[in-house]
Each structure stands twice: as structure tokens, then as C-alpha cells.
């Protein structure tokens, strides 16, 4: 490349980045630069030009880096991205959110550059083979990663950094993992798009709450009832939608989810309506409650084991209860996927007409998927009620269904490990970064978009056949 041509391209790159920066300045100037603050005297317009300047500079740098990647200069772009991320942490920024955006942006650019750096090496021979080998090795590693994740989850409460907040969050994440696994049966395996899954979560939660409230039953007695009732409601939903698929099914399930919520809100005599039900009992360990001062005639956990009372016992125990339930659910689903009914679910997802021509009754297959999927939603609902000790219809809005569906889709339809990864990403990370306030949802949406751009099939889209004729690796 001659010097003149290189200079021309450099000028073009700076021009392009300049235009982008100009657009950013035009947009950010009024949006970010002017801030209406309410003071005692009324609304006052404050200016934040420093924030605008830094943002525009970041946009300019980011655009340059993207151009560099495009021009096969990935290494400098990688270095630049990392430098910006590091600089944002080290240097004082005019706004905390700006730090986060700069770090995230820098890392995204660095990742993009790294990916294109790896892809750029187009040597089909040794490197291609090595990469194929790496891919198959990573697929082979999935079970081991699963074991590692389970081990990490088991020892989490013992970790020195495990405070109450972290355990509470972990309980929530595992609850969502279970919900994701349940919905995965319906959406990922059977291919029935269900937008009203939260209904079964609500049925489970309210089954436990009402049984406890009206009949004084405890968590362990109510848990199977919650699962069974949710499964029954799954059947109830299943029957009218047997002939529907795709968009139509989605609309009806959406309506079903709303119906359950509206009934819970308005049937005040039974559900106490929008006031919700409080005082839901916590799970006990073989009858030992986790309270500071147990009622007469009972022994509390800390008294039985002669420990000083701390609420951490209760939080930790609940975490293990959820984890145990989730592990059972996981084993159950992994197993059933390899059974005729599980294969029929997947076959139904692939082609319903072909299923019928092979003597598979689609009615039974769909109903079993709906009811088993709903059952796990019911278990998760009971756990949720036990964790909160208070439930109201507010907890079961459409956005919950959407988040659970997002976990399944982002994780990779039908993938158990994918659900875990997506639940940690979508539930854990936003909760952890609660300080970012309104930027939290921005990051949430951004993460979703990025996953779909980079991994359209979900985080772990690879599907392992349920049985093999030849061992792994000796095909092709």
C-alpha cells in the first residue's frame, strides 16, 4: 500500500468517526447536556457539558476502533478497547454511569476485535482443525462444566464473601433457573410458544399460600400440592390450545397468564385480592423451624443444634431447598429427554404432521409437555412464596413471563446449561448492579441484543443427540 493511499484511508476513517461524533453530539447535547433539576425555587436547567464531551469522545474512539477492526487492524483495536476500559476505571469521570458505559464499551470493542482476530486467521488446515477440535472439546466439556457449576453452587454459602444479600440473590437466580427449565420443556423441547408461563408460577405460589393460610399446612406438605395443581392448570390451558401453533398459541397463552392474574386480583374473598397474602410459613428442617423464638412446645433449629441464632441459617437453608429442588428438576428433565416422551416432544417441535404419520398422538404429547412444564413452574412458585413470605398478584405480571422466556431463548432453546447461564446473566447481574439504577435496564436490553447478534441460536445452542450409534468423535 503506497503512502498516499494509506493517508487517504486514514483521513476517510477520521472523517467517518468525526461524522459519528457529530451525530452523537447533536443527540447527546440536549438529551444529556441539559438536565432539569427541581430545586426549592422551582425547576432549574443545569448543564452537564463535561459528560457530553466525554461521551462524544468515547463515541469517536469507539467508531475508530470499529473501523480499525474492519480494516483488519484488530490488534490495535483490541489494545485500544482495553485501554479505554482501564482508563475509565483509573481516571476520574464526571459521572459514574459514564465509567460503566466506557468500561462496557471498551470491553465490547476489545471482544469484537479479539473475535475478528481469531476469525481472521483463515488457514483451513491446522488451525481450522484445531478450532473444530476445540469446539468438539468444548461440547464434550459441557457435562464437566455442569458438575463444576453444581459444586460451586453447593459450596457458595460457605464462601467468605457469601453475605445475606448474595444468598438471597442466589436463591432468586436458582428459582428462575427452575422456571427456565420448566418453560424449556414447553418452548425449547416441544416448540410450543408459551407467553403465559407466569400463570403456573402464580398457581404454585397461591396454592402454597392458600393451603398454608386456610389449613395451616407447612411448606413440605404444600410443595407436591403446588406442583400437582400447577400441572393440572397446565392441562386446563393445554386442552383449548391443542390445535394452535406459533403466533396463535402465543396469544392464547398470553391471555391465560393475564386471566390468572386478574382472577387473583379480583377474587378478593379467597385470594385477598391486591392486598396479597402474608405470613406464609417458612420451610422447616424436619419440623425444626428457623425462628428466633419458636412457639411453645417446639424447638428451633438453633436451639436444637445449640447455635447462636442468626437469620443466615434460614436464608442458607432456603437456598439449599431451592438448589435441591432445582437439581432434582434437572435430573428429571435430563432423563426424560432420553425417554420416548422427551423425544416425542422434540419431534413435535420439528414436525407435527410427521409425528402423526408415525403414530404419535400429538394431543398426549402436547398435554404432557404443558403439564410437566407447568409442574416445575408450580414448584418454583411455592419456593418463591416461601422466600418472600408474602405474595400478591403484582409479582405475576406479564413481564415475568417475558423474562422467563428470555432466559430460555437467550440460553439456547432446549439447553439446560444455557438456561443456567442466561438466568445468571439476566437475573443475577441486573440485581447485582442495582446501584446503576435506570441504566440497569439499558444494560439488560443491551446484553440481550448482543447475545442475539453474536449467538443467534442462544448462548449454548449445541444440541447433543439423546443417543448415539457410534461413540463421540468418530463420525466424519
Amino acid at each position: 500500500m503506497s503512502g498516499a493511499a494509506a493517508r487517504r484511508r486514514l483521513a476517510a476513517a477520521f472523517g467517518e468517526a468525526g461524522v459519528t461524533a457529530l451525530v452523537a453530539a447533536a443527540l447527546l447535547g440536549p438529551l444529556v447536556g441539559l438536565h432539569a433539576a427541581s430545586q426549592a425555587t422551582g425547576l432549574v436547567i443545569q448543564t452537564r457539558w463535561a459528560v457530553v464531551a466525554v461521551s462524544v469522545a468515547l463515541v469517536f474512539a469507539g467508531r475508530l476502533a470499529l473501523i480499525a477492526v474492519r480494516e483488519r487492524l484488530s490488534a490495535p483495536a483490541l489494545a485500544g478497547g482495553l485501554a479505554v476500559a482501564a482508563g475509565a476505571v483509573a481516571l476520574p469521570m464526571p459521572d459514574r454511569a459514564l465509567t460503566v458505559i466506557a468500561v462496557a464499551g471498551g470491553l465490547v470493542v476489545a471482544l469484537h476485535a479479539a473475535v475478528s482476530l481469531l476469525r481472521g486467521r483463515k488457514t483451513p488446515g491446522a488451525v481450522g482443525l484445531a478450532r473444530a477440535g476445540l469446539r468438539s472439546a468444548s461440547h464434550r466439556a459441557v457435562p464437566w462444566i455442569g458438575v463444576a457449576v453444581v459444586a460451586a453452587a453447593l459450596v457458595l454459602p460457605l464462601a467468605p464473601f457469601a453475605d445475606r444479600r448474595l444468598l438471597d440473590l442466589a436463591t432468586l437466580v436458582v428459582t428462575y433457573i427452575m422456571l427456565g427449565w420448566g418453560l424449556n420443556i414447553v418452548v425449547g423441547l416441544a416448540g410450543l410458544l408459551d407467553l403465559g408461563y407466569v400463570a403456573f408460577y402464580a398457581v404454585g405460589a397461591y396454592s402454597f399460600a392458600l393451603l398454608a393460610h386456610n389449613f395451616g399446612l407447612g411448606f413440605w406438605e404444600c410443595l407436591p400440592a403446588a406442583g400437582a395443581l400447577a400441572a393440572m392448570f397446565g392441562m386446563v390451558l393445554g386442552f383449548p390450545v391443542l390445535r394452535l401453533r406459533g403466533d396463535y398459541l402465543a396469544i392464547v397463552t398470553l391471555g391465560f397468564g393475564e386471566m390468572i392474574r386478574i382472577v387473583l386480583t379480583n377474587w378478593v374473598d379467597v385470594t385477598k385480592g391486591p392486598n396479597g397474602i402474608s405470613g406464609i410459613p417458612r420451610p422447616t428442617l424436619f419440623g425444626l423451624p428457623f425462628t428466633a423464638s419458636p412457639p411453645e412446645g417446639t424447638v428451633a433449629f438453633h436451639q436444637f443444634f445449640d447455635l447462636p441464632y442468626t437469620s443466615m441459617h434460614r436464608v442458607t437453608f432456603l437456598y439449599y431447598v431451592v438448589l435441591g429442588l432445582a437439581l432434582i428438576a434437572n435430573l428429571f428433565i435430563l432423563r426424560i429427554r432420553r425417554l420416548p416422551i422427551g423425544r416425542a416432544w422434540e419431534a413435535l417441535r420439528e414436525d407435527e404432521i410427521a409425528c402423526r404419520s408415525l403414530g404419535i398422538n400429538p394431543t398426549n404429547v402436547k398435554l404432557s409437555a404443558f403439564s410437566l412444564g407447568a409442574m416445575f413452574g408450580g414448584f418454583a412458585g411455592a419456593v418463591f412464596a416461601a422466600r418472600q413470605s408474602f405474595i400478591s398478584p403484582e409479582s405475576f405480571t406479564f413481564i415475568e413471563s417475558a423474562i422467563i422466556l428470555a432466559i430460555v431463548v437467550l440460553g439456547g432453546m432446549g439447553s439446560q446449561m444455557g438456561v443456567v447461564a442466561a438466568a445468571v446473566l439476566l437475573i443475577g447481574v441486573p440485581e447485582w448492579f442495582r446501584e446503576l439504577q435506570e441504566y440497569r435496564m439499558l444494560a439488560f436490553g443491551g446484553a440481550m441484543v448482543m447475545i442475539m447478534v453474536w449467538r443467534p441460536g442462544g448462548l449454548l445452542a449445541h444440541r447433543e443427540p439423546t443417543l448415539r450409534l457410534h461413540g463421540r468423535g468418530d463420525g466424519a
Binding site: P340, L358, R468, G475
Partner: protein, 277 residues
Amino acid sequence: MSAAAPPLLTVEHLTMRFGGLVAVDDLSFAAAPGEITAIIGPNGAGKTTVFNCLTGFYPPTVGRLTLARPDGRRFLLERMEGHAIAREAGLARTFQNVRLFPRMSVLENLIVAQHTVLMHASAFSLAGLLGLRRYREAEQSAVDLAREWLGRVRLTARADEEAGNLAYGDQRRLEIARAMCTRPVLLCLDEPAAGLNPRESAALNELLLAIRERERIGILLIEHDMSVVMGISDRIVVLDYGCKIADGTPSQVRGDAAVIRAYLGDDEDDAAEGASC
């Protein structure tokens, strides 16, 4: 061909109307076990509609479809649902536009075809959930049957690949193997040679003849490829505008004046086309 053998499938006065359109008009024919019966006819003659009536996708407007299994049980197909026809009567089909389970492996496609057997063996998955031996044995025999068919359609090496990644001809053969894994008494093939090259269609002929020889089941075939039809059929039924215009051995049909007229057009170009059968 033994004329004395009772027919496996008897179609009597089958009529299918879609609103004002008569797709199949008073069609009667029979298919014998151990024979290949071809249904041919120009495009739009109603061949696939006949299949869809037989396999329960549409309830016929008029007509009786009787399947008499070799074990003596008889089924009236027009009264049964599609999945029951496949499961109980033992009628398996393939589709004009291949319908595999593309994201499942080749082997899994063949195992899903044995759903009914495995479902019973696993007591509706319960025994399988507990890992009982009864289910493990049933699964092993299902894999053995699948392995046998993979060998016969020459796909053994690709058993663990996704079915959707197979070449078109391989997908067609896999679909036939999948239908055979349901252990049918009548195999209905909807244009199995469509899109195959001459070598592949010769291989298809061999496969179908082998099925006829070894399984002794009836094969009902819709086909446009005359090298397949004339080469392997024992009997040919010719349809035109939903009516049967000829029925006989390949040599009889080849010389039939009505068939030649339907395929090549009529010199006189009279208005007889819309006339009833």
C-alpha cells in the same frame, strides 16, 4: 402376483370434495400384500389427496377405506384419526416434500418412529424414568432395528449427524427407513423419486424391491418418474381429474388409449374432460 390373495387395502367409491372442487371422484381400487401398486396421473389428478384420505389427514366426503391386516384384523380407515391409522392399522407414509425431524440426529429419527413400542415398554416413560431393565432392553432392540434400516438405506456412517444436514437423496431414503421402523403392513410413498438423479432412483428401485421381497408388505406409490413406476410396479392405477381412467399391469397401462390421451392430450380436443367417470 396372486389374484387369489385377499387385498390388503380396499378403496371403494372414494370421493373427496373441497367446496365445489371434486379432487377425487368415485375412486375404487385394491392393493394386494407383497405387491407394489403405483398411482400415477398428470399434475393435479388427485393422487396426493388419495394419500391424505388414506392416512387420515382429511376425512373423505364419501367412501370406504378398508385395511385388512395379514393377522386378520380389519380397520375402516375413514373412521380413524391419523395417528391411530399409523399406530393401529399399520399404515406408514412418506411425504412429497420430505418431512424429517431436521434438528434431531438420523438415529433419533428412527427411534422416534418406534415411539409406540417404546412408550409401552417404558410404561409411558415411568419405567424409563426409573431406569428399569425392561425399558433398557426395549430401547436396545429399537436401536437394533434402526441400525438394520440404516444399513439398508446406507446411512450407517451418518447415524449421529443431524438429519437436516443430509443430502436430499439421503433424506428421502431416511424418510423411507423411518416409515419402515414403524413396522407397517402398508407403506405409502408420495413421489419418492422426486429430485433424485438416475443413479439414486435406481437405488430406490432396489430398496423398494428389497422391501417387497423381505418384508412382504404392500407398497402404494405415487410417482412421476416412469423409470421407477414401470420398472417395479406390479399394478398401476391411473388417475386424471380425480377419476380412475386405467388400472392394470404396467404393460396394459402403457398401451391404454385413455392414458395416452391424458398424458399427451387429445387430437380432437373435445369437451369430454369435465365429464364424470
